[in-house]
Symmetry: C4
Subunit: 267 residues, 4 copies
């Protein structure tokens, strides 16, 4: 039982490492099959056998994950604590939906939702993080910057609200206004929430282009807002960089550990 | 009165902290209601009761903000100084427009503008910054980099003007030119200001796609401009990073100035 | 003459500073007028008086710049050296085209080009850089990173060529191919240069959306290329950040100048 | 033979440097000709002579590269080791396809693929890296950050899968659903793989706009996902920056290890 525990929960032994790699491949394959099942092309008659193969492979992996879940429960020293931990719930949610499909009509809507819950399996990829110290460093850098991130989100909220309201007025209420409806019928900025969506898509430089300014004044204002918003949105990358640089510098200074310049003893 | 002052203006006491959190929720809810009122769907007959609920909730919050404003005036040591400060004016502007709607006809244009002024309430979110030192650090980093930002904006202005004029010539005046109008009718670059708008949208990597080069030469030139512009626009992120890294290093060096743990002399 | 030299060429005196600010406003206004002249709306009869106002204002500014150019020539100690310097040529090019328009027919194509040359005035904005040391620091950081930038451009060239050719094959030559033309008629990737343009627009995250993959395999490959290209294109921002952080650290270390820990003399 | 070896394989001598620059120009020209051959315009009768010129120039360069390849084989001390090295194979692959075209019918599909293999020549540009130490530094920074990059890719995979599945459900299965097909016919999110492609295009801020949310709930969720995804995707740029800053600091500290200028003792 101890051996099994080492293999399943620890990654220090060669067997544990191979177990982890095998699990990773199984999770990725499973995600792939669940995702491909939703492609409309594969539902056409010509692809029936391929879809069957996907389903079979998916069931094979589900049974594997079930065995793994039971083994984890058996060899864990605190089975209940594992069962109600975050990873335990993820492990359970990644096998239960497949079995529930037996009790649900084959073409109903709830079946589709059940099937998608299996995609939560992708979180198990993160369990393999325990192999790496780097995840801690990253979490620590983000955690150190949490207050800055809250301030930043507050500033983004203000910027998005004000620029959304401004663009809504300029594009929809001020220019080329229809006599009857009192709005510009060509405007893409049909409401303030829509304009705030535009502001987020623009400030993050995603820029889909499904909502763009049409009037000259709107283009001028949005050009200014883009430059301001761009300056704003690059700030958090500076925060994270600064934290990571600081961590790395602290580390290399600790490694140096030079003697005190007065008493010449290395503390 | 002192107790009330502590609760409303300071965030150090538990009561003051809860007051701040309650205020934050009220501001966010109020912004949401004002924004949702502009969605065209909610103006249809079926949603009349929902729209009424929004309006009622919004009035409730307005009265709350009015009471808060009066309390702030009453318990402030310098009521006039508060009333004419930036935050005092924001507080006033976030309640007055609601009351002014009584004096304005119900379907007029000025009503819509009045309603939107209420969105300035979002600035009150920033008042809660006083809880955090991080805002000072961020402001300081941006302030330290101000001269660099001016130089950078000058370079961006030059780049936008020159690339805008260049693309206007290539796309509109040089190729596939119409005999009568002397311009390329398919060109998206209809004028130099329009081309400058394209240059800003492109250099910041937003890239809506509403204005794109159509000629081969235009595509080649814009590919070169994109690479140059991209190199240019990443520079300010380096500035802010460098400032923030510098600040963090200075801080950790100040913290280090501890005496040697053996001879207790600060070297 | 020395006073005039100080005012025009130096920014240390109050008069020189005001001269610089006035010049900046004049340049920006001039750029604005030249750009607005190209907007098609202003060429319609209704806007004739506004267009005349633009032209008059533009002539007034041109005469101002001419006087400034002559003053610079007069009070410079080496007029010829100034005249053939970069800034001298920019100053000359920003006034000469306006006068040349007298010798050119009023509706000809060369007139439009002449007019646009006036936009080179925007470079004069950079002359005001001499007020700031920050420009030197920025130039130095970019200059220090020049070899890295060349390596980076070589890697970008390889990535753009290989992904362009790959996407051209997948999208145009391999799937949904027309029997007669041997190419996919729906493909946006009509040639390798077009695909390379797509690769540049995508890797820099501009993403216009005028050229997008249509086939499933094309989408999968482009998703992988986007992730790889994104990882690649963020590298130079790291270079510039590192240079700027290094510069700032060197500076603050020089300021510290602590005494030698052995002989206690500050070198 | 030693002289020839120095010229071809080393860049330290003036002759070797000129050889490298000549080779660079030849490679770039060759890439240009191969790419331009695929432009449909040049296949029209009017451009027949230009296309011939491209082909001739391309053959001239191919013969040059062949001579270079043979010289490299002749003057290398270990011809076989060179022939089977990465650069040797790239060198071979950049000349062989041109000769193979003699044995393949002139209008067949395999001809097109053969022609494109010549584009692998672009990798030879990287051979000129050996002139520069900077490439090592860059490779080292990326290599140091490899574990972090794997963790990061795992997080991206989770984020892309979960947001893809979420958007697929909201946009396609939950709202405006057709009675017969049980899906929203206007949705762009036709399957989970398609939604994952959208998630990658959005998180990297490329934002083509070919797939955008249409429902209000979809827009709200995607706005939140964009802000989260943006925060996530800027993290690796921080990693690379931190590594590069660390490398530069280590370097400058090593350089500093000079003795005190007064007492000549290295502290």
């Amino acid at each position: 039982r101890q051996t099994m525990y080492d293999i399943i929960f620890e990654a220090d032994t060669p067997a544990g490492r191979w177990f982890d790699i095998g699990l990773l491949v199984a999770i990725l394959a499973s995600i792939l099959f669940v995702a491909l099942e939703t492609v409309p092309d594969f539902r056409e008659p010509g692809y029936a056998r391929l879809l069957d193969a996907f389903t079979t492979a998916e069931w094979f992996l589900t049974i594997l994950f079930t065995i793994e879940y039971i083994l984890r429960l058996l060899c864990s020293r605190h089975p209940l604590r594992y069962a109600f931990s975050f990873w335990g719930i993820i492990d359970l949610l990644s096998v239960v939906p497949s079995y529930l499909t037996f009790f649900v009509g084959s073409s109903s809507r709830s079946l589709l939702t059940l099937r998608s819950i299996r995609l939560l399996r992708v979180f198990r990829v993160l369990k393999l993080w325990r192999m790496m110290n780097e995840a801690d460093e990253l979490s620590y850098a983000i955690w150190s910057a949490r207050n800055k991130i809250i301030v930043f989100l507050a500033v983004v909220l203000v910027a998005v609200t004000i620029s959304g309201a401004l663009m809504y007025h300029v594009e929809t209420l001020l220019f080329n206004v229809d006599e009857v409806t009192h709005v510009n019928p060509d405007s893409h900025f049909t409401s303030i929430p829509q304009s705030m969506y535009w502001a987020i898509v623009t400030m993050t430089t995603v820029g889909y282009g499904d909502i763009v300014p049409k009037t000259s004044i709107g283009k001028i204002i949005s050009a200014v807002l883009i430059l301001l918003g761009y300056s704003l949105i690059i700030v958090p990358s500076g925060f994270v960089s600064a934290e990571l640089v600081g961590l790395r510098t602290d580390e290399s200074q600790n490694r140096e550990q030079h003697p005190c310049s007065v008493c010449e003893v290395t503390s």
